[in-house]
């Protein structure tokens, strides 16, 4: 319970948020979901992973990322930011926009579980390799 990774999910669809939350909590993660970007930055403290949808009302996932990155700029531990999309053109632009990676096959909950686990492993491997 103590070491459950915290995952923040940002999407404008409540149905998608509900499904993702239910599935990831089954895997033992603590999941915070929000459809609102305003005030969402407070959830980032202690988060290991942030999953962001691209097509948000009034802004793109890149805008959300930018605001989140400003919010955690001074934090000692920065979460990994991943884009969640099935759009290949958006996916291709993710790294350029500043995301650490992309989760594909949106809607496939099983695939999401595997990709989340992989992203958290990448973060741990990077932390292990980083100089003390």
């Amino acid at each position: 319970m103590v070491d459950q990774p915290v995952i923040v999910v940002v999407d404008d669809s409540e149905i998608i948020l509900e499904r993702i939350k239910a599935r990831l909590e089954m895997e033992g993660y603590r999941v915070i979901t929000t459809a609102q970007t305003v005030g969402a930055a407070r959830h980032l403290k202690g988060a290991s992973l942030v999953i962001i949808d691209w097509h948000m009302p009034g802004m793109t996932g890149g805008d959300v990322l930018e605001s989140f990155q400003r919010a955690v700029a001074s934090s000692a531990k920065r979460p990994a930011f991943y884009l969640y999309t099935s759009d290949p053109t958006v996916s291709a632009a993710a790294k350029h926009a500043g995301f650490d990676g992309t989760f594909v096959n949106k809607g496939d909950d099983e695939s999401l579980v595997q990709q989340v686990a992989a992203a958290l492993r990448i973060a741990k491997l990077k932390a292990r390799a980083a100089p003390a």
Binding site: T102, Q114, A118, R121, R128
Partner: protein, 732 residues
């Protein structure tokens, strides 16, 4: 040499430039040696022979000169030149004499000479014998009988014959020596070939065949060094074969061990390249995709089918795992993927559970993957999860129904069954349906579909919709036509299925009801009316009194419906976990007991949680299930009902009542807890419970078994309440 199939002759060493056979070397050496020895011998022999010849000639010349000197001495004494010349002329018949000349004692010119102006004119006349290359000069002083020197005689004898004989002998000897050397060399070469070269070639052929894995032994070995080498070779061959058989046997056992394991076992190097070792299941699972040097990344996460982040994560892990030493590999196990989806071209993708270990071997960086195919298991789990979610969804729907009044649903079930029965009868005798039957059926299923939607009966709704669509099509079919025959069959099987679904819905409804099957008999009545009935007729000891009492009674399940949630909440505050199991939900509890029972049961539950049920960690240490179990049971008894509250906790802690019976627990102020909180510990509960129930003629008894659990038994006065209580296997 040439196009031989003999492996010896095709040997690259033999084909190399500068190869010279041992036999040839020996032949050359032997030839040279024999020739040199022969030449030396011949030289010495001819030299000696030449010496002998020259000596013989010298002696002959000396004798001849002596004789001649003696014969010309008188003539020379009288200075008779003619006589001297005549004597010299006699020498001309001797072909060996080249020239002869005589001088007087003071003559500078020869007195007589065999040849005029011959070679002796300038030769030395010093007495003696002088041997030159091709002649011998013998000079002698001619003396008179009294010893008076009369002159000098010089005779030159030729050595040409001897020299020519020596040259001829040398030539003969040369050719003889050459022939002898060649013969000896050839003979020795033949012997060496037979005794050394051929056996060595045979050994070489045998060695090559052995290197190719053939079973070969050299035969016909002689008793010499080569034969000894052959024996050693055969021994070496046998030893190699034995070792190979042992290695093969070990490998076969190991491979058999790998193959009997239910996991696919693969080994790869630090760069992720597959190595040869693998189990049979790995071969079957991966097929041709897993050849040597294939990348494990491409097998588990092919670019076309896997997500980029999974590939990236595995590559990153591989980079670290391949570089770390074997004894530090365990640090990385948690960072490896636990599961992967193996894509197959036939569409039958497999889900693999992955376990990585450092592979044993002569170098670090090798990794062994044990992959278990859990596809069937996952599918079952997902199917079960989906069904459970569906079931919970239906239960939730039923609970909402109950909360809103289950009687409406009961009326629906009753009505639906009646209409279904009429619809089944309306199908009539076998044969095509009539249009009227079609219309009746259509209206029935159409109404049923709407009703089932309102009660969240998804399966019923779906089936009704299917029948409705078929009936819509059959509406326009000509009378007596085949579609109407088919429609009959569809309706018959559809109605049977509907009946089953309605039964299932009822069973689900009863299952989710706290009062079980009694919910089907519930009606809504006014509590005030019931109380009035009880007041007027409840005390009567006749049928009417008993009927009224039954009306006022309440199902045990109704009284305990909220206790499950309450117990979970109370346990949570005490950092414990419990589940409450209710049996006898349908048993009717008399009104006077029901009024007090909810409070009593709540009190006893709190007691059980506070005093009996252990914390989760303690329960696990004791080998118990982490979640404590509290059973609330009710059964009919003469004069009322018997109720038992049983927990599988620690039992009553009798050290608090040292030396006394459990009855002491009922005394005011007595508690087994050292501290008090909202759950208990004030020492007032059990006594109050007993007093309250005593007012209505019920007794309370305690039973406890240390470490096993405790029971509180409630029953009418005069009942033993000792009959066996069965343990319920299910929870409500």
């Amino acid at each position: 040499m040439g196009h031989s199939t003999d492996p010896v002759k095709r040997s690259p060493v033999r084909a190399a430039k500068g190869f010279v056979s041992v036999a040839s070397r020996m032949a050359i050496v032997i030839f040279a040696l024999v020739a040199a020895v022969s030449a030396l011998v011949a030289f010495e022999l001819t030299r000696r022979e030449e010496g002998h010849s020259i000596e013989s000639k010298r002696l002959a010349g000396s004798m001849l000169t002596e004789l001649l000197a003696d014969s010309i001495a008188p003539a020379l004494d009288f200075a008779d030149g003619d006589a001297v010349h005549a004597s010299l002329t006699m020498l001309a018949k001797n072909h060996d004499v080249v020239d002869a000349a005589v001088w007087g004692p003071d003559d500078r010119e020869p007195l007589a000479e065999l040849r005029d102006k011959g070679p002796l004119a300038t030769a030395s006349r010093e007495p003696g014998i002088r041997v030159a290359r091709d002649h011998i000069d013998v000079a002698r002083v001619v003396k008179s009988p009294v010893g008076k020197p009369l002159g000098t005689l010089l005779v030159r004898v030729s050595l040409a014959g001897e020299r020519a004989a020596v040259v001829a002998a040398k030539k003969r000897i040369f050719w003889l020596a050459f022939a002898l050397s060649a013969l000896v060399a050839a003979l020795l070469t033949a012997v060496v070939r037979r005794t050394i070269i051929s056996p060595l070639a045979a050994l070489e052929r045998a060695a090559r065949r052995l290197s190719r894995g053939e079973l070969i032994e050299v035969e016909n070995l002689r008793l010499d060094e080569i034969g000894s080498l052959g024996h050693t070779f055969n021994h070496m061959g046998r030893a190699i074969r034995e070792r190979e058989q042992r290695i093969y046997s070990v490998n076969t056992r190991l491979q058999g061990l790998l193959d009997t394991m239910r996991q696919a076992i693969i080994v790869f190097d630090g760069d992720g390249r597959l190595e040869r070792e693998r189990s049979r299941i790995a071969e079957q699972l991966l097929g041709d995709a897993a050849g040597p040097n294939t990348s494990i990344v491409d097998i588990l996460y092919p670019v076309e089918h896997a997500s980029g982040v999974e590939r990236e994560a595995f590559r990153a892990w591989l980079g670290v795992a391949g570089a770390v030493s074997r004894d530090r590999f365990d640090e990385l196990v948690d960072l490896a993927p636990k599961e992967a989806r193996l894509h197959r071209d036939d569409g039958d993708d497999r889900i693999l559970e992955l376990e990585f270990r450092a592979a044993a071997g002569d170098r670090d960086g090798r990794v062994m993957l044990l992959a278990t195919d859990v596809t069937s298991q996952r599918r079952l789990e997902r199917t079960a999860e989906a069904r459970e979610r569906e079931h919970q969804k239906q239960l939730g729907a039923m609970r909402r129904l109950l909360a809103g009044g289950g009687q409406v649903f009961v009326r629906f079930l009753t009505s639906a069954r009646d209409r279904l029965g009429r619809a089944q009868r309306d199908l009539g005798s076998p044969g095509p349906l009539t249009q009227e039957s079609v219309e009746h059926a259509f209206r029935f299923v159409h109404t049923l579909r709407a009703e089932s939607r309102s009660f969240d009966l998804g399966a019923v709704e779906e089936l009704a919709l299917g029948l409705e669509l078929e009936l819509a099509g059959a509406r326009h079919a000509p009378p007596g036509s085949a579609p109407l025959v088919v429609m009959r069959k569809s309706l018959e099987s559809g109605y049977r299925e509907l009946s089953t679904l309605l039964d299932d819905a009822e069973a689900l409804f009863v299952e989710s009801s706290p009062i079980g099957r009694r919910v089907l008999e519930q009606v809504t009545v006014s509590r005030a009316d019931v109380d009035e009935l009880m007041g007027r007729f409840g005390a009567r000891n006749d049928d009417l009194g008993r009927l009224v009492s039954r009306l006022a009674a309440r199902p045990f399940g109704e009284l305990t419906s909220t206790l499950g949630d309450d117990a979970t909440r109370w346990a949570g505050k005490a950092h414990k976990r419990v589940e409450v199991v209710v049996t006898g939900r349908e048993v009717l509890v008399p009104a006077r007991v029901a009024e007090r029972l909810s409070g009593v049961l709540a009190h006893l539950l709190r007691n059980a949680i506070a005093h009996g049920i252990e914390p989760e960690e303690r329960r696990l240490e004791l080998g118990k299930h982490a979640v404590g179990r509290i059973e609330l049971s009710c059964r009919e008894a003469s004069g009322g009902v018997e109720i038992r509250v049983h927990d599988d906790g620690a039992g009553f802690d009798t050290t608090a009542f040292a030396g006394e019976t459990l009855e002491a627990a009922f005394e005011p102020g007595r508690s087994t807890r050292k501290t008090a909180d909202e759950l208990g510990g004030f020492g007032v509960g059990l006594g109050a419970v007993r007093d309250e129930l005593k007012e209505i003629g019920y007794l309370v008894k305690l039973r406890s078994e240390s470490g096993i659990g405790a029971s509180v038994l409630l029953g009418p006065e005069g009942r033993a309440t000792e009959g066996a209580w069965s343990t319920s296997p299910s929870s409500s």
